[in-house]
């Protein structure tokens, strides 16, 4: 079946820099996308979501961008902090579908 994937398995950034985590999806019928953060020993935690009728959505220090033309999703984290170190997953969902998670990107914040 169709699935969600990520370009980079690991990402290291300096504290204070901006982080960009990318995700490619293949199911053109997906209309809802979520970014999750998963810290060691914990379950995934909702960060931000976006529907397919939007191109951009902003939260606190986070921005999600959706490019439906190339089926690409990105998560931008401004002024990355040590507490942002975690694995980040994108997940897609559409009518009649269950959520499909990507493999995840590990973000490491360097002091």
């Amino acid at each position: 079946g169709e699935s969600v994937g990520l370009h980079l398995p690991t990402l290291s950034v300096q504290e204070g820099d901006n982080s960009i985590i990318n995700c490619a999806y293949s199911n053109s019928a997906s209309d809802y996308f979520i970014w999750y953060k998963q810290e060691s020993g914990k379950g995934p935690q909702f960060i931000i979501d976006i529907r397919s009728n939007m191109d951009k959505r902003q939260g606190q220090r986070v921005t999600v961008l959706l490019n439906k033309t190339v089926k690409h999703l990105s998560l931008q984290i401004a002024a990355t902090q040590p507490g942002d170190s975690a694995v980040y997953f994108c997940a897609e969902n559409g009518y009649g579908q269950n959520f499909v998670f990507g493999p995840g990107t590990r973000l490491s914040v360097l002091p």
């Binding site: 379950g43 935690q45 997953f89 969902n93």
Partner: protein, 116 residues
Amino acid sequence: EAGVAQSPRYKIIEKRQSVAFWCNPISGHATLYWYQQILGQGPKLLIQFQNNGVVDDSQLPKDRFSAERLKGVDSTLKIQPAKLEDSAVYLCASSSNFRDKNNEQFFGPGTRLTVL
């Protein structure tokens, strides 16, 4: 508001043994999910309940896995007999109603299973 509770947090068994996991969702949440998360991968849905009925179990290996949510509240997931490849974190999640437009899922901490 209390989150999704799972127990045990860790379990080590030998192959061919049986194991059961328990999940108590957020109060009032109609939809409950069990996911399997193999190390280095994203969660994969095993089964989804709406109240006490199964909505989707297409990815559940039914020859060895079973799950129930008899009273529409807490749920158990069982593996019998376990195989080495079942080693993973088993995540339980709940949401108010999967038919809602903004259906945020809340995850529990997971149960880490190691099969030796």
